[in-house]
């Protein structure tokens, strides 16, 4: 609320006003702290549990006494060994996910920028019709496309390949739409000036539009990377086995972080090993957290402006 001058009729009224103000502040901060704790507790619990050995945790459970503090008596790196080791195999999940995220983001950005440029700056017949059709598809739930895409993937022999992970969701109408709006805000005079200087369309795109639209492009990159990191349903469908042709053998596990976590830690190996499960979750969370801390401003601004869940 705005700072404002307040005048009081009497000393008592002023005191009452000040007391009220303090109480309001205490209530506000109290409420926000409680809600903040609700948000933070799962993270805290994740961290302390990851440092407990399975035996120590089971012992705590047997005695009905969860230790909610990190003490030297129960401190152990047992879970970290499991998660990164052969049975947990998180190293492979990381590599797969990073590779998929980076390549698919690069692919998405290139195709989206080109398409948005065509929609925003180039005149040709049928442009508006295509754009309207694409906008219309944004309402349609992805599950409907997934049914046929799954078949297409199988027919193309793309199961357990990176191609299925990268190309099937490689182009997003939303990103094209978002970029087009940014491109359209760039004044037309700039385009005409560039033409006089002898720039063609693509030179103009490369030398003028992309630098000007860079904040939007970075936002799209971040959203796309985050989306790739958190993707679960599609990887679970097409990337849950071994890679069919890497090194000529079916040796490379194709799981990404989310579906690897789900299938290894929630269903099979560690289904009844709670600390291992929680540590696996921690490993799926930490890289994105670091990413968030570095790009905090970009992410928060980008998300509130674009308004989607990545």
């Amino acid at each position: 609320m705005a700072e404002h001058e307040v005048y009081f009729a009497s000393e008592a009224q002023m005191r009452r006003y000040k007391a009220q103000k303090i109480i309001t502040q205490v209530l506000l901060y109290g409420f926000l702290t409680i809600m903040g704790l609700f948000i933070v507790i799962p993270f805290y619990y994740m961290i302390i549990t990851s440092f407990k050995s399975t035996d120590a945790y089971n012992l705590e459970v047997q005695h009905g006494q969860l230790n909610l503090l990190l003490t030297s008596s129960n401190f152990s790196f047992e879970q970290y060994g499991k998660v990164m080791g052969k049975s947990g195999d998180f190293g492979t999940f990381y590599l797969n996910t990073i590779y998929t995220a980076v390549v698919s983001t690069a692919f998405t950005v290139v195709t989206s920028v080109l398409a948005a440029f065509a929609f925003a700056r180039v005149n040709f017949k049928g442009k508006d019709l295509i754009f309207t059709i694409l906008l219309g598809t944004m309402m349609i739930p992805g599950e409907m496309m997934m049914i046929t895409n799954f078949q297409t993937t199988m027919a193309l022999n793309w199961k357990d390949t990176f191609a299925a992970l990268i190309f099937v969701h490689g182009v997003s109408v939303f990103y094209i739409f978002y970029l087009r709006q940014t491109f359209q805000q760039i004044p037309n005079e700039l385009f005409l000036a560039a033409k006089v200087d002898g720039y063609g369309h693509f030179a103009y795109l490369w030398k003028c539009m992309i630098p000007i639209a860079m904040p939007t492009i970075v936002t799209i990159m971040i959203l796309s990377l985050m989306g790739a990191w958190n993707a679960y349903i599609w990887p679970q469908l097409v990337a849950s086995g071994k890679h069919p042709w890497l090194f000529g053998k079916n040796v490379h596990d194709m799981h990404l972080v989310s579906n690897g976590l789900m299938s290894k830690f929630q269903s099979t190996e560690f289904a009844s090993d709670d600390p291992a499960k929680v540590t696996g979750s921690l490993f799926a969370t930490i890289p994105l957290f670091i990413f968030f801390l570095i790009f905090r401003k970009y992410i928060m601004r980008g998300v509130s402006r674009s308004g989607i869940k990545g």
Partner: protein, 364 residues
């Protein structure tokens, strides 16, 4: 282009004998390619440039988006549709013709509404529909209300505002599967769970929250708590950016009139925030209608488990679609396709109803 004539244009005869307009503004003559004799190069027509830029995206959009929508829609209207993984074409119509040609096949495909009839006879579908409805009705208003209250409180503090805002944003950058598994452990039964330990401090006996024999409503409680935790970040962010655009004079004027805090909230904050509220409501309803990952992450123990003894206690529409999509059972795919069409209709209806209801209440 209307004022083209005003520029000093000249007619140039090109190498192939045709005359073209040439102006100092080289491709002001749009949409026609021409050969520039002086520079020995061919200037591409504008429409070709447009298509070259559009084609990469368009190919993938057509193959993986436009075609699947049409194809899935068609599958939902083919009786006894079956698809042998990998061996047949993904084109529904090709499968359809192949099945007609193959007289030895015991399954005859034909157009009709058999899939929808099957779905409406399917107990599981009604369960999924009911569950999804409950999740939508309870979860969305709760999350929006809590998010709105937090955003308003957050907006009215000064010190530490940025810190709190970052804290409340944290769930957005986490993996729904990973945190679902953490909630699964936090809500373990007996004394193992953190939550049971917490309520134990208040003398409440441990509850079996998510186990196979847990009650429907204890599971629902955990689903709602996790959904609020998971969904609140985005809503707070959007409300905060909406609140920062409200003119402070409204509040000052209201305070001079002696309005109470609640009246200010109801009469000023909510109406002025109504575009953001509508936007969040529409997106949250769609999101909640498509609940899937959070729920299977919560229950775990099996690749696809929705709780209960048979693993379908809290199955959702999307869960139903995926269950049939991956099933090897004949005609399962048709049911999945029909389910997805029904989901589409539900989402369209929800959105239309909200726009109709909000027509007189949203102030832009």
């Amino acid at each position: 282009m209307a004022n083209l004539k005003e520029r000093n244009e000249e007619v140039v005869v090109t190498a192939n004998g045709s005359a073209v307009l040439q102006t100092p503004y080289i491709d002001a003559v749009t949409n026609k390619g021409y050969l520039d004799v002086k520079q020995h190069k061919w200037i591409m027509p504008e429409w070709l440039k447009g298509w070259i830029a559009l084609i990469p995206a368009l190919i993938f959009l057509i193959v993986f988006m436009i075609y699947p929508i049409i194809n899935s829609f068609m599958i939902s209207f083919i009786n006894n549709f079956y698809w042998v993984g990998g061996s047949n074409s993904s084109l529904a119509i090709v499968n359809f013709i192949a099945s007609r040609a193959n007289t030895r096949s015991s399954i005859v495909q034909s157009f009709g509404i058999q899939n929808y009839v099957n779905i409406f006879k399917d107990q599981l579908f009604w369960q999924a529909l009911g569950n999804t409805g409950l999740i939508v009705i309870v979860e969305v208003p709760l999350t929006i209300l809590v998010g709105l209250i937090i955003a308003v409180c957050l907006h009215s503090i000064k010190p530490l505002q940025g810190f709190y805002q970052t804290v409340f944003f944290l769930p957005y950058v986490t993996n729904a599967i990973a945190l679902g598994m953490v909630f699964n452990v936090m809500f373990s039964d007996g004394s193992a769970g953190l939550f049971n330990t917490l309520i134990g401090w208040f003398g409440i006996n441990p509850v079996n929250w998510l186990g196979a024999s847990a009650s429907k409503w204890s599971m629902f409680f955990v689903i709602v708590v996790y959904s609020i935790w998971n969904g609140i970040a985005f809503k707070i962010l959007v409300f905060m950016s909406g609140l920062s655009t409200i003119d402070k004079q409204y509040y000052d004027a209201a305070r001079i009139d002696g309005a109470s805090k609640f009246t200010i909230f109801r009469r000023i904050t909510v109406p002025l925030l109504s575009p953001q509220i509508l936007y969040i409501t529409v997106t949250s309803f769609i999101g909640a209608a498509k609940s899937y990952s959070q729920i299977i992450a919560l229950f775990g123990a099996g690749p696809v488990n929705f709780g209960g003894t048979d693993g379908t206690r809290w199955i959702t529409i999307v869960g139903f679609i995926y269950k049939y999509m991956q099933s090897t059972q004949e005609s399962a795919l048709g049911r999945a396709a029909a389910g997805s069409v029904i989901l589409l209709i539900l989402i369209l209806l929800l959105t239309l109803v909200q726009f109709a209801v909000s027509k007189n209440r949203v102030h832009y």
